[in-house]
Each structure stands twice: as C-alpha cells, then as structure tokens.
Symmetry: C2
C-alpha cells in the first residue's frame, strides 16, 4: 500500500498534545503559504512552531501528511467559522448571509487559505476535491433545509450549491485577497450577495 493518511495513529490524546498539534498546523500554514509546497520544509515548520524536529514525527509521517492535514484543518475551520456565526433564530437566507460574512472574515484572518487550497490542486488533488465537495455538500444541505421550511423554492440541489459556493469563493478572492482601498466592507458584500441570492438580478 502507498503511504496513506492514518490520522487515528497519530491523533494526540492529551491537551498538551493537542496544543502542539495546533502549533504545528499553524506553523505549516505559514510555511506552505510563504514558500509553496516544494520549497517548504519540515525543519522550517518545527522551527517556526518552536518544537523539536523529532516531535514533528509524533504527529505526521511526512511533509505530504502535514499538508494533507492542513487542507483538512482549513476545511474544518471554514465550517466552524460559518457555524459559529449562526444563531438558532436565523432563517435560511439570513444563514447564507451570515455564513458568507463569516467566511470573508475567516479568509481575512487566514489569507493563506487561498494559496494553500489552490496549491492542493497540484500537490494533493484528492484533498483539493474533498475540500470543495465537503463544503458543497454542506451548502446543499442548507439549501434543502431552506426548501423544506418554505423559505427557499423547492428542488434546489447540487447546481445551486456549487453556484453559491463559487460566488462566495470569488467574492473572497476579489474582496479579501485582492481587496482595494474604497471597497465595500464585508457586511455590505454579504448583503449584496444575499440580495442576488434571494431575489436574483432580473427586474
């Protein structure tokens, strides 16, 4: 068998272990974003995490493995940021607006996410595809719930979910990564995207 990811083998069991793992993932995000996958090194990651080189191997087998774990961690981070922005009282459309705003804020705090996810297309295509399929499925489920509650039209599915994901990703690209002086703020971007999503642009 090829070197597969076996997270269960190396999942930390103590709080201290979880803190070290977090440090390694944060350091890996910076290292991969600054240098790109090929130039990045395990020693660069451990140096910036402030842990011994040997400690790295308690958590990961290889540079590939930490990269894969980082992509998965970022997918989870996007999901967590969206969930934390939601309140039980929100309707389906309000949820989409809050989720987009939370995503823009998450991306602004973690600008490296675009570079790392995009490099996964070349370094680890399975992680790249899983990242978008996971988020797409999450959005599709929200659209289905909105249809069930009667707030959205019925019959929404994969095409609408991917369209909405693409909107959000490209609004982040334009307003977070390539943001300019004088751009509308994230609240305003999320408001305008939500109007497009709710009412469309047809008169």
């Amino acid at each position: 068998m090829a070197a597969t990811h076996r997270p269960s083998d190396k999942t930390p069991r103590t709080e201290r272990g979880r803190i070290t793992l977090r440090k390694l993932l944060d350091a890996a995000a910076t290292e991969f974003a600054d240098k790109g996958f090929h130039e990045a090194s395990i020693s660069g990651i451990t140096r910036s995490a402030g842990v011994a080189l040997g400690t790295f191997y308690t958590y990961f087998d290889s540079k590939d493995a930490v990269f894969r774990a980082l992509v998965s961690d970022m997918s989870a981070g996007v999901g967590k940021a969206a969930r934390e922005a939601l309140a039980p009282s929100m309707g389906a459309l309000e949820i989409e607006r809050a989720a987009l705003r939370a995503f823009l804020e998450f991306a602004a705090e973690h600008k490296e996410i675009y570079r790392i996810i995009d490099e996964a297309e070349f370094v680890d295509p399975d992680s790249y595809r899983t990242h978008y399929e996971t988020i797409g499925a999450r959005i599709e489920e929200r659209l289905r719930q909105g249809g069930d509650s009667g707030e959205f039209v019925p019959g929404l599915g994969t095409p609408e979910a991917w369209a909405l994901m693409g909107m959000n990703v490209f609004l982040g690209l334009r307003y977070v990564i390539w943001g300019r002086e004088g751009d509308p703020d994230f609240t305003e971007i999320a408001r305008r995207a939500n109007i497009l999503l709710t009412q469309g642009i047809g008169r």
Copy 2:
C-alpha cells in the same frame, strides 16, 4: 528591466506564421496541462507541435513567455466562445445563459484550462489576476447594460459580477472537470443557474 512580455516584437505577420503560433500554443496547452509548468519543456512543446526547436524562439523568448501567452490566449478563448454564442436579438438574461453554456462547452473542449489558469496563480500571479479581472470586467459591463435596458435591476456592479463569475467557474469545475455519470447536461445546468440568477432562490 526584468524580462517583460513584448508581444509586438514577435507577433506573426503572415498567415503561415499565425498557423505556427497556433500550433505552438495548442502544444503548450497540452504540455503544461500534462506535466505542470516546472516539468514542461520547450523541446516537449516543439516536438508535439511538429516544429523545429529554433522556430520556438521566433515566437517566444522563454518558457515563461509561452506560458504567459497561453494564459492570455485562454482568456481570449473564453471571451470568444461567449461572444460567438450570442445573437443580437438576445436579452440580457438570455445572454448570461448562453454565455455560461458556451463557457461549459469551451471548458469541455479545453479541459486543460482549469489546470493552466490555476497554476498561473503560482507561476505567473499577474497573469492569473489579469485573467479574472478581464473576465470580471466583461461580466460587469454586461450587467450594466442589462440595468440600462431595464431587464436587470439597476446598480449592479463589481460584487455581482464576481459572484456571477464564481458561479460559472464552479459550475464548470463540478460539471466539466469533475463531471459524473447521470449529471444534468450543460443546457440544463445553464438553465438552472439562470433561474437562480434571474429570480433568486427565495420564495
């Protein structure tokens, strides 16, 4: 000055020259898509184009230059495919539907476009950004015209244009690059995206 792109220097003046340039760009698309930028070689491009190695330098100074020209050629190809799908009689919404359908067909014919544009983010960030800014500006202009004609709501601008571009790019990613047995066809995808765009998903 750094090695800048000087297309005017090397633009072919004869029909035969234009045919050779086309062959080189098509061969470059295959070479870069198959091997990635770093592994791709000028000799691989000329071999697959069936032209002499020296001929390459009549058209391009370097591997970087042919890559840059290819990204620009692909941007132009997307624009041309959209324009050719349009008829003077079409309304603004019909234009968006036809443009998306044409883009999906173009991407299906040129599946390498995703890999090459996405690799430009790392190999030639300026080309990457120019690619999306060019397409975004083109969409924004169509939205403005639709607002002027009264078919779209007034006041559409950059956020709506980038949202629409993201929708189209991600529908291509899902249904062209990662297409599956049993997926709806491109006409149906464009129809559903157009409903979302026209009416939104709110009830």
